[in-house]
């Protein structure tokens, strides 16, 4: 850090806007293309045994093109082909009224709202605990091992109990799910923030010390700004975790609504296409949340003069 102040980005020319977008999109498309090819290949490979079995049961044998064709249109494929998932997604997202129970927008929204609530609770709790650990020796020494232990509790195992206990306390709806989401998301934030808040080096702390800054001032003006890179990486992990938590919480919540319920009910009836569609919406949500946080990060770091 001491030397960082001497560091300087070199004068490199910026790209024009259009070229910038092309540069962004092209690689993504390329990688996507490669993935699609692999996916189709895998779909053929994984779905072929079933197609062959079916043909054998019917006493026929399949030529290779027939086999490939057969692997693309199964109703419950081991691995649905991309276009099948795309169709499932399209039906779920655009083919329904968004208030319909078959609409993935509706389920996605239910999951998203609990995720955001849980993420907010979780990251605030994580930050608060990190601050406590930093400023209170008793907490420093006692909280961390127990926070670790808390994370090893298999959440799916106790989620039903949590839901039961909350229900018996009269708490239902979004909150129990959000709490499970918070449970999973506070930990990455805690670990990252403890590290980040301890990142300032001795000279920076000494400066504060020489001004006899109060702990609150040291926190707001030194520790917090220098923890930003850690905070944002942690937050990205934490939203993804919150989404997982919500979905886990949706399973035992009586599997009523939300992407988790959708996944599970897809599972019961072996509807792989439904599973994959829900999965993609979930991943899309997580991806979007991560991107949003990434954008906030860029903005913040740039405003702070830290971005390169």
């Amino acid at each position: 850090m001491t030397d960082a102040a001497f560091a300087r980005p070199s004068a490199r020319p910026r790209l024009s806007l259009g070229a910038g977008i092309a540069q962004k999109v092209l690689p993504v498309l390329t990688v996507l293309g490669v993935l699609l090819v692999i996916w189709y290949g895998a779909a053929v490979a994984l779905n072929a045994p079933w197609a062959r079995d079916q043909a054998a049961r019917a006493g026929e044998s399949l030529s290779f093109p027939e086999l490939v064709a057969a692997t693309m249109v199964q109703e419950r494929p081991v691995l649905p082909a991309p276009h099948q998932v795309a169709k499932g997604l399209w039906d779920g997202l655009a083919g329904q009224k968004i208030t319909s129970k078959k609409s993935l927008v509706w389920h996605g929204w239910i999951t998203l709202s609990a995720t955001l609530a849980g993420f907010a609770i979780g990251s605030l709790a994580g930050i608060a605990l990190a601050v406590g650990i930093l400023h209170n020796r008793a907490m420093d020494k006692s909280v961390m091992p127990w926070a670790v232990a808390s994370q090893t509790i298999p959440i799916l195992a106790i989620a039903p109990m949590v839901i039961v206990v909350f229900a018996s306390l009269g708490i239902t709806g979004i909150l129990p799910k959000a709490i499970i989401a918070a449970w999973l998301s506070f930990f990455p934030v805690l670990v990252g923030m403890v590290k980040g808040l301890r990142t300032p080096d001795r000279m920076q702390l000494d400066l504060m010390h020489s001004w006899s800054a109060s702990p609150a001032q040291v926190f707001w003006r030194l520790r917090l700004p220098s923890s930003m890179p850690y905070l944002f990486t942690s937050l990205k992990v934490a939203v993804a975790a919150a989404l997982v938590g919500t979905i886990v919480g949706e399973l035992p919540a009586g599997a009523t609504a939300g992407l988790g319920a959708r996944l599970l009910s897809g599972s019961y009836y072996g509807q792989t296409i439904q599973i994959w569609s829900a999965l993609f919406v979930a991943a899309g949500l997580a991806g979007a949340l991560v991107v949003v946080i990434g954008a906030i990060e860029k903005l913040t770091l740039r405003r702070m003069g830290l971005a390169r």
């Binding site: 799916l156 195992a157 899309g284």
Partner: protein, 282 residues
């Protein structure tokens, strides 16, 4: 005065007493005291739990008392050990190691090529954000019922956090250090090996620590979606069905102990490796 009230008051009294003791102890120095403080904190929680269960007569099938959990633990050591080996040693550890290596290598690949960085990272974010509950059934379908599918779930789960941290870490060198490498005309691998990887270590360990616990969760949860008749997840879900809650909590206890030890080991290694980082020097 009602029983509930006196109960609440005695619970509160125990809590305040213990925290007072802890506050006092925390001001002493030495590793012995540090351990003591954590222990007292935990023991207090356990006592409160026991008191609450007894005073309010919570049914065993909702929340068993620590004493009941402890006797289930002691009484089932061979089963617990078998489950531990199945789930944690075979499932979680192998998956974690593979996942961590894969994430590190991917991070380096991503970092090496700006094309990949712009192409893979967004998609990687997306793929790795697939929730386990969604992938677990699929992976069980692909990799079979035994521990291999659990390891696969763990790989997917730990991949993203380590990747994100590692990518951030590889970018964490300052300009002066990179300029130096440039003046020595260090090759890509040399500056990776001698500058960027060491500088990334604090971030990498951040990811590794977070994922120790994720690995355990992943391995256990994956067993809910199909498993042989052993393993911690299997035992937990079966025991819940049998309302054998003390056994459930005994397994959770095993998970907690294993997770804490696992985390502790990673944190210990981190201390050795990143001794130079300001956060370790305080």
């Amino acid at each position: 005065m009602t029983g509930a009230m006196t109960g609440a008051i005695s619970i509160l009294a125990v809590w305040l007493g213990a925290m007072g003791l802890n506050g006092w102890l925390a001001r002493r120095d030495g590793p012995l005291f540090a351990g003591l403080v954590a222990a007292i904190f935990g023991i207090t929680l356990l006592i409160l739990w026991e008191m609450a269960v007894r005073i309010y007569q919570v049914p065993n099938v909702i929340l068993p008392a620590p004493s009941a959990i402890w006797s289930a633990f002691i009484g089932n050591l061979p089963i617990l050990w078998g489950d531990f080996v199945q789930t944690i040693v075979k499932g979680a550890l192998s998956g974690w190691v593979i996942g961590a290596l894969a994430a590190t290598v991917t991070a380096i690949a991503i970092d090496r090529s700006s094309f990949l960085q712009r192409g893979l990272l967004p998609i990687g974010n997306f793929v790795a954000a697939l929730p386990i509950v969604g992938i677990a059934p699929i992976l069980v379908m692909w990799f079979g019922f035994d521990w291999q599918s659990k390891a696969a779930v763990v790989v997917v789960m730990v991949f993203f956090p380590i990747l994100v941290n590692m990518v951030a870490g590889l970018a964490a060198t300052d300009q002066l250090q990179r300029d130096q490498m440039k003046t020595w005309n260090a090759g890509y691998w040399q500056s990776l090996w001698k500058l960027r990887l060491p500088a990334a270590m604090p971030f990498l360990f951040n990811g590794l620590k977070i994922t120790t616990t994720l690995a355990l969760i992943g391995a256990i949860v994956a067993e809910f979606f199909g498993s042989p008749t052993r393993g911690m997840g299997f035992r937990i879900s079966t025991s819940v069905g049998q309302l054998n809650l003390p056994m459930v909590w005994a397994e959770i206890l095993v998970a907690a102990i294993a997770g804490t030890v696992f985390y502790g080991i990673v944190a210990w290694v981190e201390k050795r490796v990143t001794f130079w980082h300001p956060s370790q020097r305080q």
